[in-house]
Amino acid sequence: MQHLENDMDDLFQRAAENYPLQEGKSDWENIAKRISDNTNSPEVIAPLQNNKNKKFIVLTLLLFTLVAGWLIFQNTRTGTNNNSNKTELVKKSEANPNSEVDNDNPVISSEEHGSNINDKNNIDDKNKSAIRPSYKSSSHINSSVSNGSFFFDNSNTTQTRKGVVNEDAIEENSYSNNYFYLPPTGIEESTGISEFNKSSFENLISATLNENPDLSGKNKKQALNIKQKNKGIYIGVVAGPDFSKVQSGSFANTGFDAGVLLGFNINRKFSFETGIMWTKKIYESEGKNFSMDKVRSTMPVGMEIDNLTSRSSFIEIPVKGKYNFAIKNKSDLFVSGGVSAYIMTKEKNAYNVSLNGNREKLLGVYEKDNYCMPAVANVSIGYEHSVSKSLDIRIEPFLKIPLQGMGVGSLPVTSAGLQLGIISRLRQ
């Protein structure tokens, strides 16, 4: 074997060509089947998996809708009961022939005003309370009174009261009736009660709650509800579909996100929120957007990525500010903005590549955590509706704009979607 050292290359080449290896049995049937399968379904199994995701999302949304619907139904029923109680109470008041308005009361004095005014509705002197008639909407308010006075035209009791609002005096008085309603938003303008502002009304609620232990439980809860919304911590669960794209692509693929949030109300308008979300994104990209820097060593060189479909799971940590720009008694409209950090937990990329002139498919699975901080800027607009004393439901369409590339290919992923949430206020 002396000659081997002299012409090693040639010898090994001949050896490689002629070495006696068993050919084995022909496996043509298997290869033919695989070729047919690949020809008939050239793309990856993405559509099937996408259908699974869609079913999951639809089921989640359905569940959420059922829960929200039930809560709203419960709340509506409670509201109906309140109305029944109110009518009953008014009737009781009408039936009391001895009830008279306290004329010493400097705030709201009862006096005859047209034929509808009579002495049937009076204020119990012993309780030293002033009548504040109930109303459902501003349509019940007769605002055509001059001299700064106003009338509450209570259609249920067919009575009209004339009074001059004195804020200090209001606080000194409590109601003889065991119920009250908050004025609808905009009442100040329609009635010209400029001094009757929100804070004084809240003081009024406090005073009422403190001074009138007989106040019914449900109304007490409503009053507390107003106070609790002003300040305090709240938590919630949110979930919803997520549609992602890379650059000029389309939002064709449906992902999903779900998580918990923690918020703090600075006041009735401003709050801060953070949380932790599990996010599943599916997006497609052209190969030109994919940066090979992080994966070059694991890819056959000379390979070009034509396009890819990525299914990625992230843990998202958002930090955002929220501003309620339209506040109603039971609902708010808000805008929010902030940033999110992403921790990628799993990335599965199905590549369509060209290698040695062949079009091939490669699958890359990356499970190493990949931190992006901050990864995206969040903007959203939303609607929040109170369904009980401490429970709100929220609908929040959002847009997430990439601040840096995500995943092994550093892809600039833009996401849009809708988050549905249930928020619970914890404490003041």
Partner: protein, 190 residues
């Protein structure tokens, strides 16, 4: 016997008859190519099948200007696909070496003729290649046997050209050592 060009055209039209002819013609060659990299017979069979599926699915891209070179070009193309498919598998296995010797059933030495002795030598040489460390073995296979340049090796494996060169030098040095050891053993046995 069908002409190679006819077979290729048939394969382009996804005609199973021609695909089978081509597969039968090249499967031994493909298996030998893959086995030199994988050194596991069962896995080599799988990888060569994978390589053929890739080959048939991408055959539209195969171009040959001169019909005289078609055999050579086709063989080169199949070999390249098989090598790339083998390297993909090795990369998945993190280049972990195949442990243990090569079982006898994989060899096909049927008689005791002079050509059989030659075959045995070739078999020994291929077994010697297996003794090289995995990183050296791949470079040795690609450069010495399959004729890749260092630039091509570096690109395919994602390593610097210098590493490819130094790996080859060490592989050759080790191979000479193994060959000398083998020669000494042969002389002793005589």
């Amino acid at each position: 016997m069908e002409k190679t060009l006819t077979i290729i055209n048939g394969c382009r039209q996804r005609t199973h008859k021609y695909q089978k002819i081509l597969y039968e013609r090249y499967r031994a060659f493909a298996l030998k190519t893959v086995f030199r990299y994988i050194y596991n017979y069962e896995e080599a069979l799988e990888v060569s099948n994978d390589g053929f599926v890739k080959f048939f699915l991408g055959i539209e891209k195969f171009r040959c200007e001169n019909e005289a070179d078609i055999e050579k070009l086709l063989g080169g193309w199949i070999k390249r696909i098989m090598i790339n498919t083998s390297i993909d598998l090795l990369r998945k296995k993190m280049l972990l070496p195949e442990i243990g010797g090569i079982p006898d059933y994989v060899w096909d030495i049927k008689d005791k003729s002079a050509s059989a002795d030659q075959m045995a030598i070739y078999k020994d040489l291929i077994q010697l290649v297996k003794k090289l460390p995995p990183a050296y073995r791949i470079v040795f296979n690609m450069h010495v046997i399959d004729g890749y340049t260092h630039i091509e090796i570096a690109e395919t494996l994602g390593i610097p050209v210098g590493t490819s060169k130094s790996n080859l030098l060490r592989a050759k040095a080790l191979m000479k050592k193994y060959l000398n050891q083998k020669e000494e053993l042969s002389e002793c046995s005589i």
